[in-house]
């Protein structure tokens, strides 16, 4: 990382022939024309910001000398709503944070509420379906990240390929819960209903096809020479920087930090799955450039898709018939207490802090959104890069504005 060039002095606009010799013997330096940095708004309507985010860029030609993200265009008071509606009624709102991984959002909220209800038993089949859905949703989310990152770099076609496979996952989700984007399927106590007949076989078929397609996408975009040139050594986040900014998810692992909540603070049956060797945690290795560059982050996401596939297969082996949801009353009353549960979302740690006074409504609802936390690194990462690099960096953070603003 080069340090951002600072404008040290404002050159005075005086003709050069007025320059005098100073007592020190130096000639005065005047410029005929004044130059200044150009301030330009990237966003709120800009294709590279993946939504309604605004980045105030200060540029010197193509060189970005300063960047400041401005948020809040999509703020919907989600946390306040969480404190005004009943426990179950808040579940659909969680879909809308990170609309690309709604299953995981449901899961995080449900786990936080279940942590307050110790007597609630979650059936094993429900847990397995939760894991299948969460991992399929992770694949779908990473597919969008991969496709839109291609768009940011200027490659259009991978986007369509990624969306074709995502369409398949969405069709699977549509069969299981009727919705394609905002599922509200993972409920407090389990999942809403059992899988339709043959659904698990369809998931297995998807896994087989996707494994082949994945290699194609990897060769087409990730190993593409121009793509590597555009992303390697760009936007390098060092390990210290990743810790300082509290990065999580692929952003953290791209910097070479071996940390995954699914393995290190296991929830559901992820601990058992990891012991069975169902998944590994990929980390950035700096294969094409420096550890923690944009290429590493993208590659970590790509490899994670395959690891998720392994998890789905493991769950398909383990799943047995049985109930899918525990004994949950129609109107949930949560015992008094407070709980924080963070899970590994596609974008990082999505945590819910829930506080209950024993009533039908939460007294405090707080969401730790990974996109929001990961976004903070932009301000330090973008100065000193080229304009095209700054687009590559924003893309590699894989933010979803619905989640940053909530």
């Amino acid at each position: 990382m080069t340090s951002p060039p600072q404008a040290e002095h404002k050159p005075s606009i005086r003709p050069a022939d007025e320059a005098r010799t100073l007592p020190s013997g130096e000639r005065e330096f005047f410029m005929d024309v004044a130059t200044s940095d150009l301030e330009v708004n990237m966003g709120p309507q800009h294709p590279a910001t993946h939504g309604v985010m605004r980045v105030l860029l200060r540029t010197d030609g193509e060189l970005v000398t300063g960047a400041q993200p401005h948020l809040g265009y999509l703020h919907r008071c989600a946390e306040k709503i969480g404190e005004s509606v009943e426990w179950l009624q808040y579940l659909p709102y969680t879909d809308r944070y990170d609309y690309l991984s709604a299953m995981n959002n449901n899961l995080s909220y449900s786990l936080a509420v279940e942590a307050l209800m110790p007597e609630l038993e979650i059936p094993r089949r429900g847990t397995m379906i939760r894991m299948i859905c969460a991992e399929l949703n992770r694949i779908a989310s990473h597919l969008v990240a991969f496709g839109t990152y291609g768009l940011d770099i200027g490659a259009f076609t991978p986007f369509f390929y990624a969306f074709r496979e995502r369409e398949w996952i969405q069709a699977l989700f549509e069969k299981i819960c009727g919705a394609r984007l905002t599922y509200s399927y993972i409920r407090i106590g389990g999942v809403f209903n059992d899988t339709p007949p043959g659904w698990l076989q369809e998931v297995a078929d998807f896994c087989d096809v996707f494994e082949e397609k994945w290699q194609e996408y990897y060769d087409l975009l990730i190993e593409n020479h121009i793509f590597v040139q555009r992303t390697a050594n760009v936007g390098v986040i060092s390990e210290e920087m990743a810790y300082d900014f509290g990065l999580t998810g692929p952003m953290l692992r791209g910097s070479g930090v071996d940390f995954d909540l699914r393995r290190d603070m296991p929830y559901l049956e992820y601990g058992e799955a990891h012991d069975a060797g169902a998944f590994k945690v990929p980390i950035g290795t700096g294969e094409k450039g420096t550890v923690g560059d944009c290429w590493d982050r993208t590659q970590v996401r790509m490899v994670e898709m395959m690891e998720s596939l392994g998890l789905v297969r493991w769950c398909l082996e383990q799943i047995e018939p049985g109930p899918v949801i525990g004994d949950v009353p129609r109107v949930i009353k949560v015992p008094p207490g407070e709980a924080y549960v963070g899970i590994e979302n596609p974008r990082g740690e999505l945590g819910h802090y829930m506080h209950s006074d024993g009533g039908k409504i939460a007294t405090r609802c707080r969401v730790r959104a990974p996109s929001f936390v990961n976004l903070a690194v932009l301000e330090d990462l973008m100065p000193g890069t080229l304009l095209a690099d700054s687009v590559a960096i924003i893309g590699s953070t894989d933010i979803v504005i619905g989640e940053t603003d909530r």
Partner: protein, 384 residues
């Protein structure tokens, strides 16, 4: 355009057809009354020539846009336009053109009105001028130019002025970025483009497109420059990369870079003005591919033209038509290649564009020229 009425500057001795252009022949053939003054004939011929050019550019753009949509569609697991016109959406571009004509003529507040209005005209005029120097067949041409390739490159380069004007006049920061990128990119790639073209020029020994084509008629119509000199293949690759940069096609589409600069210099343009830029882009793609086809891949020459020539049909309308179709097919192969690259490759960064142009392509093109010259010297001086 006065050259329209003349028999060209001074055709080389080996020129196959000592003829005139078809407008001249048309005027001679028409039973024109005596009282029409000479200047009216000239104006009429110019008007007809311009009309034909406009028609040509429109047809190229119409076909190319449809082709681009179908090619990209099939590469991206979709069908592309399927409804307008019935058969595979053939009328989609026409419908789009009508829509663009009907759109409100918008000039942003704060824009430099004069430049804003002028820039699409300059861009389109440059491509008209450059296409006028492209012969469509051995006896279908607007002007027989001995320095045809110089004319094409010189007039074609003025597109850049229009693009920079557009970016500046829009009074938008993103547009300005696009314009500056265009300026930097074109300056960097004009040089290797011109130098790479020197290789077939050395091989063939002519600047005229008609002569260049005729000189590649050996080996049953396959005596193409690319087979005559081994340095032509690397030269063509350099020419092709530079042509992509010249025509602002991916992976060098930095001036409009829609994920970085919104739409670059096109951001503030809409409606018919925007479509002018679009027409220019596709016509320039066709022109660059046609130039590559003429100087590297035999121009009008193919086994088909060889067969017709052997059958003694040279000079007939069938022969001209076959020559025309040959060139168009070769040119559109190039256009397809450009589309293929666009929908496959990511975009390069501006410093990489500059590095590639100045540090690699220009020296490599110079080496190619040197090698080609040595090859020709050995072939014609030492061995002869």
């Amino acid at each position: 355009m006065l050259a329209l009425m003349q028999n060209g500057g001074g055709a080389l001795a080996q020129t196959p057809n000592e003829g005139t252009n078809f407008l001249h022949e048309l005027l001679l053939w028409l039973p024109l009354p005596e009282w029409i003054p000479g200047w009216a004939l000239i104006l009429g011929a110019v008007g007809a020539g311009v009309g034909i050019l406009v028609g040509l550019v429109s047809l190229i753009a119409l076909w190319s846009v449809w082709m681009e949509r179908k090619v990209s569609g099939h590469m991206q697991c979709r069908n592309g336009p399927m409804y307008a016109g019935g058969w595979h959406g053939w009328a989609q571009t026409i419908a789009d053109g009508i829509k663009l004509f009907q759109k409100e003529d918008m000039i942003p507040i704060g824009a430099d009105r004069a430049l804003f209005v002028l820039s699409p005209a300059i861009v389109l005029a440059s491509i008209f001028g450059a296409l006028a120097a492209l012969p469509l067949s051995y006896d279908w041409y607007f002007a027989r130019m001995d320095l045809g390739i110089f004319t094409i490159l010189a007039i074609g380069s003025t597109t850049t002025i229009g693009v920079i004007m557009a970016g500046w006049a829009s009074n938008s920061k993103w547009s300005l970025y696009g314009a500056m990128r265009e300026a930097a990119q074109v300056v960097a790639y004009e040089i290797p483009l011109g130098i790479a073209l020197m290789v077939p020029l050395i091989t063939l020994g002519t600047f005229s497109l008609l002569d260049a084509s005729a000189l590649q008629s050996g080996f049953f119509g396959m005596g193409w420059a690319i087979f005559q000199n081994p340095l032509c293949l690397p030269a063509f690759i350099i020419f092709w990369i530079a042509a992509l940069a010249e025509t602002k096609r991916a992976p060098f589409d930095l001036p409009e870079a829609e994920s970085e600069l919104v739409a670059g210099f096109l951001t503030e343009f809409s409606g018919i003005r925007w479509s002018f830029f679009f027409m220019e882009e596709y016509a320039a793609m066709f022109l660059m591919s046609a130039v590559g086809a003429v100087f590297f891949f035999g121009g009008f020459e193919s086994p088909a033209t060889y067969a017709l020539r052997s059958a003694g049909m040279e000079g007939t309308i069938v022969f001209s038509l076959v020559c025309f179709v040959t060139l168009v097919l070769k040119a559109f192969t190039g256009v397809f290649l450009m589309m293929w690259l666009r929908w496959t490759l990511p975009r390069v960064r501006i410093d990489q564009v500059m590095t590639m142009g100045y540090k690699y392509l220009t020296p490599l093109a110079l080496i190619c020229v040197l090698g080609a010259a040595i090859w020709e010297a050995i072939l014609h001086v030492v061995l002869n």
